[in-house]
Symmetry: C2
């Protein structure tokens, strides 16, 4: 044993932790965690992943959930750089993918402003993977040639203007951070004459807390209330949702009503 202090080069790796299931992280991310001196991790990160980091690595929770700004982005940025300068390799572990509404680029820029080398390791984005685990493909021949991923809550707390365009389009529309505005968002689709468009709302996708509501635009708000679905959850609007096994009975009901 030695008391020598090894001076480590500061560096930062932004790492996508995936949607929740600890095994939905990449091999590359695991390798980064294994060489971490510090791990700064978010609220939606599966804490089992911290076990990949060395036992003596510093592990700091910097979670923020909408409405609960324990750590501002500024604070996270500063912590990240301070730890890198003082400890060496900082792994910034973020839910999903760091560049999908993750403000990951801002963190890279902040690191660069201190000349600290920084790289990013892509993660499994819930926008694609969470519907997928429910066997809902974001694209499917004959049903959808594209998918559009929109935030339900922009920086100013409003619904993104893009959502109005998305509701008008033929794309599969995936809304992240939109569960608290579901009624408003459903109304946008209704106003486009899409009351019968299939919708899925999936809470805590890929985890043991996963809950799903499958319906159409006109029924989805009630279904979500009945099933007590809350944040974190994503919304999928599109004909591809009709491929979900639960949708068959809904379609039969609509067909029966239409035949009357």
């Amino acid at each position: 044993m030695s008391n020598e202090q090894v001076v480590k080069q500061p560096r930062i790796t932004l790492v996508g932790a995936g949607p929740g299931d600890a095994d939905l992280i990449t091999v590359k991310a695991v390798k980064a965690l294994k060489t971490a001196d510090v791990v700064l991790y978010d609220a939606l990160v599966n804490e089992e992943l911290l076990e990949y980091a060395p036992e003596n690595a510093v592990k700091v929770y910097v979670g923020k959930r909408s409405g609960d700004h324990t750590y501002s982005q500024d604070t996270v940025n500063k912590l990240m750089v301070d730890y890198a300068i003082n400890y060496g390799h900082v792994v910034r572990l973020k839910g999903g993918d760091p560049f999908v509404f993750g403000r990951g680029f801002e963190e890279l820029e902040y690191a660069a402003s201190f000349n600290i080398p920084a790289q990013v390791i892509a993660g499994i984005s819930s926008s694609i993977a969470v519907p997928e685990l429910q066997h809902i493909p974001v694209t499917h021949r004959g049903l959808s040639e594209s998918f559009w991923v929109v935030t339900g809550t922009t920086a100013n707390g409003q619904i993104s203007a893009d959502l109005y365009d998305a509701a008008r389009s033929k794309a599969t529309v995936v809304v992240l951070m939109g569960i608290h505005k579901l009624a408003e968002i459903a109304t946008i689709f209704k106003n486009e004459g899409k009351g019968n468009l299939p919708v899925a709302v999936i809470q805590s996708g890929s985890t043991s807390n996963e809950k799903t509501a499958i319906g159409v635009v006109d029924t989805i708000v009630d279904l979500v209330n009945e099933n007590n679905i809350t944040s974190p959850a994503l919304l999928v609007f599109g004909e591809v949702v009709s491929l979900h096994p639960q949708f068959k009975s809904i379609r039969e009901f609509y067909d029966a009503v239409a035949a009357k």
Copy 2:
């Protein structure tokens, strides 16, 4: 040693292999590969990944590239089911994510029609990760509140109608399988008055063959020709491309021209 034949239960796992870098596969996918009796893999899959499978597993290349239909989807489906019935666990290893223009859902349906249990393991989609590795975020505060992923080539060989709507939108537009139609696609954006919109074209993202062209709608076709960029490549249209380090000099040139 024994000659006993172990009768294995047929099952199928669709696995996303990620964009090319062998380490951009998930831990869950590696676990699936380790229990594979057969691996059916596509053209864009990194062959290093086959080493995760047991040595005596059957490894079958079922690649098809656009225009080279060595294996039709029907053939792949049939092979997958035949191998599952005769060998046990088939891992169907697909580039990127199986549900992003991967026809993965069709393979799940085919397996289900034979009552063979099938699951899907999400992969890192090049649509998000390939721009990300170039430090281009698909979303960024103040620049983009959404991203829209469109295929450049639909089942009938035409440009998707969705691309016309996408060109009109404020979303970051990512086009997969569009490099052969780049001139046509650029014209769609020009017709929307977006000649100055930043564009990135990235070939073989995340691999050692990666090549990039960064420009604007008006210049991108020439840049791609000069740099001999070919398939597989993806296109990114949007203000977020201006965050790429190479874009700075382009912006300065435009500003200088505008100041004259």
